[in-house]
């Protein structure tokens, strides 16, 4: 009961702030709204008992949004001042596209919701388990993707350094 109430609150927050994030004309406000969305998502994880995922969500995305802020501050002069409204035609087209997307997703969710329902295991995952899964080589363990991502990130860091040094 209580959990359901909290879920609906979080869901509402996610919905409202998602819309605000894409409609706001000020980049830094958009970033803030996005942050709210991410935090509410983290709240959902907490609700499900995924503590680790919650903490990672907050740490990574709060940190990520912070970087967004910095870029926003660095890159914009007077935020939102120069943004022009789109043409009416374009707006309509965009609206239809968005609605089509929503309908598509709704369709999939509606027809598959019963199948997914049962598969969620409601047991507490310890950090140890997560760690072993991350760095294990068995079935349903993720050493390969983990390492692949780390190499990708390393490449990104080197790339960033190269770009920074060019200046």
């Amino acid at each position: 009961m209580a959990e359901q109430i909290i879920f609906y609150i979080l869901a509402a927050i996610i919905a409202v702030f998602s819309i605000l994030a894409v409609t706001s004309k000020r980049i830094i406000r958009s970033a803030t709204y996005l942050l709210f969305v991410l935090l509410a998502t983290a709240g959902l994880y907490l609700l499900l008992g995924y503590n680790y995922l919650f903490a990672v969500q907050v740490a990574v995305y709060a940190g990520g949004v912070m970087v967004l802020f910095i870029f926003a501050i660095l890159l914009t002069n007077r935020p939102g001042a120069d943004v022009k409204s789109e043409l009416a035609v374009r707006r309509v087209v965009a609206g239809i596209t968005a609605l089509a997307g929503v309908a598509f997703c709704a369709h999939i969710i509606y027809y598959n919701v019963n199948k997914v329902m049962v598969t969620v295991a409601q047991s507490e995952l310890t950090p140890q388990q997560i760690g072993h899964t991350m760095l294990g080589t068995d079935k349903y363990q993720y050493l390969m993707p983990f390492e692949a991502i780390s190499i990708l990130l390393l490449a990104c860091i080197i790339g960033a350094i190269m770009i920074a040094r060019k200046r």
């Binding site: 000020r26 830094i28 406000r29 803030t32 942050l35 503590n51 680790y52 919650f54 903490a55 990672v56 907050v58 740490a59 709060a62 940190g63 949004v65 912070m66 970087v67 802020f69 910095i70 926003a72 501050i73 660095l74 507490e124 310890t126 950090p127």
Partner: protein, 369 residues
């Protein structure tokens, strides 16, 4: 009961009585509210005490007396300040981004409150005991920086803006070091949960258990934690002599009060996490085999141990703060990226080796611990 002065006695008694007279759902609700109120009250009271302590200790470092007019030895000074701050007008600033301007202090205060909730103040004085406690604390406390950035941006003030940019750079850097230092100890303790971590330090603090590596991690954590609280010599986002008040230049009244409160609480949080992770938290000093001694030590309530250890670290932080000049931004980043981070990375590897090859004190001298 062995420890008559523990507050946990009271809480258990309260819990059992409540459960006796009403259904468990109501009990949980009431207990949630009680815990929340207690945490909020503790938050405010600790901040007030810290503010007083800092002013007094600072004064003594500076060959002054500090506040000594309001109440005996000025003990009511911070209460008076609090009342003043509550009554002060919130000045309206022209052309600010109002929503963000008002939201910013809340980020700050909410982040520090969320972290505050996870701190084990004593046996049974632990609101939430996550199995990922260390990670949680690191994650949640990083939200505070958003408050600083937003404040700096939305204030429509160039000093604030520079302060915000500086704090962004500073926070990104030092969060790394603080995290790595904590992870070093996680490697040693084998857990991220505060309660088990404290239990594991019954006879040997983590600070000593991993000897060299732990001590380095301790110092690194203190330095980077100190930097995260934006206090001198790392107070470059505020930098009084350069940016007047940095990111909170434009704030007044209660909004400024939030920043003020959060700054002190962050200092407390950093000290208490260091206490919990390195100095055995609320665990009394116990020596293996000395039963009489242990008995006496256990008689002192755990929360006294906790606050005592934390106070020592806070004093250390004040001592550092009032001894050094402020770093410049490039010195600050140099310190992090050229000194703290490499040392940290090496240190974490050393710690892994120590743990794996059984070189920790508890492994070397199992009879002592």
């Amino acid at each position: 009961m062995q420890e008559p002065l523990e507050i946990s006695n009271l809480t258990t008694w309260l819990d059992t009585t409540l459960r006796g007279i009403m259904p468990s759902m109501w009990v949980i609700l009431i207990e949630c509210v009680l815990v929340g109120v207690a945490l909020l009250a503790a938050y405010a009271v600790i901040a007030l005490i810290l503010i007083y302590a800092e002013r007094k200790i600072t004064a003594f470092f500076q060959a002054r007396y500090g506040p000594n007019r309001v109440g005996k030895y000025g003990i009511l000074q911070s209460v008076a300040d609090m009342i003043k701050i509550l009554l002060k007008e919130i000045v309206k600033i022209n052309r600010v981004d109002r929503f963000l301007f008002f939201a910013a202090p809340f980020f700050m205060i909410v982040a520090s409150m969320l972290t505050f909730g996870a701190i084990p103040f004593g046996k049974g004085l632990h609101a939430v005991d996550f199995n990922i406690g260390v990670l949680y604390v690191t994650a949640v406390s990083s939200l505070g920086i958003i408050g600083v950035l937003l404040a700096g941006w939305s204030s429509n003030n160039k000093y604030s803006m520079i302060g915000a940019m500086r704090s962004g750079a500073q926070f990104v850097s030092y969060e790394l070091s603080a995290g790595f230092a904590l992870m070093t100890i996680v490697v040693l303790a084998g857990t991220m949960q505060f309660s088990t971590m404290i239990e594991g330090q019954r006879y040997c603090w983590n600070l000593f258990n991993g000897h060299i590596s732990s001590m380095i991690a301790f110092v690194l954590y203190l330095i980077s934690g100190h930097a995260e609280t934006n206090r001198g010599p790392f107070d470059i986002p505020e930098a009084e002599s350069e940016l007047t008040a940095g990111y909170h230049t434009e704030y007044s009244g209660l909004q400024f009060g939030f920043y003020y409160l959060a700054e002190y609480l962050n200092m407390f949080i950093i000290a208490s996490i260091a206490t919990t992770v390195f100095l055995g938290g609320y665990m009394p000093i116990q020596v293996h085999g000395w039963e009489g001694f242990n008995q006496v030590m256990t008689f002192i309530p755990t929360y006294v141990w906790f606050f005592g250890k934390t106070a020592v670290l806070i004093f250390l932080s004040l001592w550092v703060r009032w001894s050094f000049p402020r770093l410049r931004i490039d010195q600050l980043l140099n310190l992090e990226w050229k000194y703290l981070l490499p040392i940290n990375l090496v240190n974490i590897v050393v710690m892994v080796i120590i743990v794996l090859s059984g070189l920790t004190l508890t492994d070397l001298f199992p009879s002592l611990f």
